[in-house]
């Protein structure tokens, strides 16, 4: 049923740290790798080795530039995937009931055997989180690795989304954002985590942590202290010798 369930107590989601993300695309690759072999139709690639390759991805990393006032310009790498919204517009528009939000943990999923591939849910999503698979003709989206996080055949350390497990800088965090005492909720509170496009009323569960202010203009070149170094030992003797010549 595509009516949204009453807000769940448990809200599983991701917290993405824009301060530590280095844009390495490991999460993109891990996501594609896991979802090629697990839940639902595999994420296909069309014309993979041809002149205009096009593939289905559930997670993509954009890069933006910001120019903070009085500071150096910064590049921000920006991973974008389903935010598992509390008020998910992609769910209510679905004519077949294929698109649904789980009452128990808030994960938004697609029942692929009921999906007619009309694409209306992708239109309704402001975040571009849904992609119609070119091969299977059904809508694909982040499942929050629902086939990993509850999977007792996996070692406990692997029971988290593939993107989180693989992130080499720890820029992605997975947990229950409905519990104010959970590590992810405390992280959001500490760092001022925020919603994307809050005006649209989608109430996303996933949060983004803003980049920390850095590279402030200190009034002198950043490398200035280094130019004052005194060489010692053999280098010092050479330095003094060369000065005299």
């Amino acid at each position: 049923m595509t009516a949204l369930p009453p807000p769940s107590k448990k809200k599983l989601g991701l917290v993405i740290d824009l301060d530590t993300c280095v844009g390495c695309q490991a999460c993109v690759t891990a996501c594609k790798g896991w979802n090629d072999q697990g839940y639902g139709a595999p994420l296909s690639d069309m014309d993979a080795y041809g002149s205009s390759p096009c593939g289905t991805f559930l997670n993509r990393v954009h890069s933006f530039e910001v120019q903070p006032e009085g500071a150096e310009a910064q590049i921000i790498h920006f991973p974008r995937s389903c935010l598992h919204c509390d008020n998910a517009p992609c769910v209510t528009v679905c004519p077949t009931g294929a698109s649904y939000k789980r009452a128990e943990d808030g994960i938004v999923l697609v029942n692929e055997s009921a999906c007619i591939g009309c694409g209306l849910c992708a239109w309704a999503c402001p975040y571009g989180a849904r992609e119609l698979d070119g091969e299977a003709g059904v809508m694909k989206k982040c499942t929050l690795c629902v086939d990993r996080i509850y999977n007792e055949n996996l070692p406990e350390i692997d029971r988290q989304p593939a993107c989180v497990r693989t992130c080499p800088t720890g820029a992605r965090h997975f947990g229950d954002l409905g519990d104010p005492e959970s590590p992810v909720s405390r992280l959001v509170a500490e760092r001022g985590g925020y919603d994307l496009m809050p005006d649209l009323g989608t109430a996303p569960v996933n949060k983004y942590l803003p980049p920390r202010p850095k590279d402030r203009d200190r009034g002198a070149p950043a490398l200035a202290p280094l130019s004052d170094l005194k060489a010692t030992g053999l280098a010092g003797w050479l330095d003094r010798l060369l000065e005299k010549i």
Binding site: T2, F57, S63, F64, V93, G117, P126
Partner: protein, 292 residues
């Protein structure tokens, strides 16, 4: 938004078809026998052809019947029910006109219900687009108004060529101008910015894309060819869709020839307008791709 031919055909043909069915059900074209067969057949044909066309762009059309299940939340599902209900209510009136079956007063009741449900169907079609907050140009009351005006003009051109049809065409022209004008402001009014999309402040600008060749999102929701020709297409929609049919309705003697000529022009205008309706609409996801 990508202007898929199937969706353009669906919305224009079924819009005109349901408008024509409503007019016929209200008794605006008193015909019997073969004339009635062709009139009701054309109306049914337009409506059904449009509905069938809408299944062409589906990834898995064999499951299309499932689209009837979610009428409580989905405008697309409601549209399915409304269209089938309309076609059912139309049937007694059509049978009476074509076969001359004496049915008594109750066909007038089913005719009124058919006309009402035809309007509901057109509104449901419009709401599929107007409900989307992600496409600010569509999220506006002029969208249902424009879909209704198209249906009324198309229906009256076919069912009652003459002054009323001309008036409906002129109203359609005025509604289109209003829709173009309001639509142009919607994106800015919605406050949709890259800063809101990323939360990175007013200085943010795209640096590198997430992928080097276009993906589904870009093909489906970021379409820019139409915007280049927007003014020309608006002119075509106004002239062919509204002004020329109105002139034909007022000058030609009322009859099938006037209807055919005016309807051909109307349909060309409707195609131009509907193509632009999609091509010109900007989805808020464009921000992430730096292509607003």
């Amino acid at each position: 938004m990508h202007p898929a031919p199937s969706v353009i055909l669906f919305t224009t043909l079924s819009g005109a078809g349901f408008g024509f069915l409503a007019c016929l059900s209200l008794g605006l074209l008193p015909a019997t026998g073969w004339a009635a067969f062709f009139a009701w057949g054309l109306a049914y044909g337009l409506a059904v052809a449009g509905l069938l066309a809408s299944t062409f762009h589906l990834g898995n059309p064999q499951r299309a019947l499932r689209a009837f299940t979610q009428w409580r939340t989905s405008w697309l599902s409601r549209e399915g029910w409304a269209s089938v209900t309309t076609l059912a209510f139309v049937a007694p009136g059509a049978a009476e006109a074509v076969f001359g079956w004496p049915t008594g007063d109750w066909t007038r009741v089913t005719g009124l219900l058919a006309a009402a449900m035809a309007i509901v169907t057109i509104l449901c079609t419009a709401m599929i687009y107007a409900q989307l907050r992600t496409v600010p140009r569509w999220h506006h009351w002029t969208v249902p108004l424009s879909f209704l005006s198209f249906a009324a003009a198309g229906g009256l051109i076919l069912a009652a060529p003459g002054a009323y049809a001309a008036l409906a065409c002129l109203i359609l022209g005025a509604v289109l101008m209003l829709q173009f004008d309001r639509g142009d402001r919607q994106f800015a009014l919605a406050g949709s910015t890259l800063a809101a999309a990323t939360g990175l402040g007013p200085s943010v600008r795209p640096f590198a894309p997430a992928n080097t060749s276009p993906n589904y999102i870009m093909r489906e929701m970021i379409f820019q060819v139409g915007r280049k020709h927007a003014l020309k297409l608006r002119g075509l929609a106004l002239i062919l869709g509204a002004l020329l049919p109105a002139a034909l309705m007022l000058t030609l003697p009322s009859g099938p020839v006037a209807s055919a000529l005016a309807f051909a022009s109307y349909l060309a205008g409707a195609f131009a307008q509907r193509w632009l309706f999609f091509a010109e609409a900007r989805h808020v996801v464009s921000h992430y791709y730096g292509q607003v």
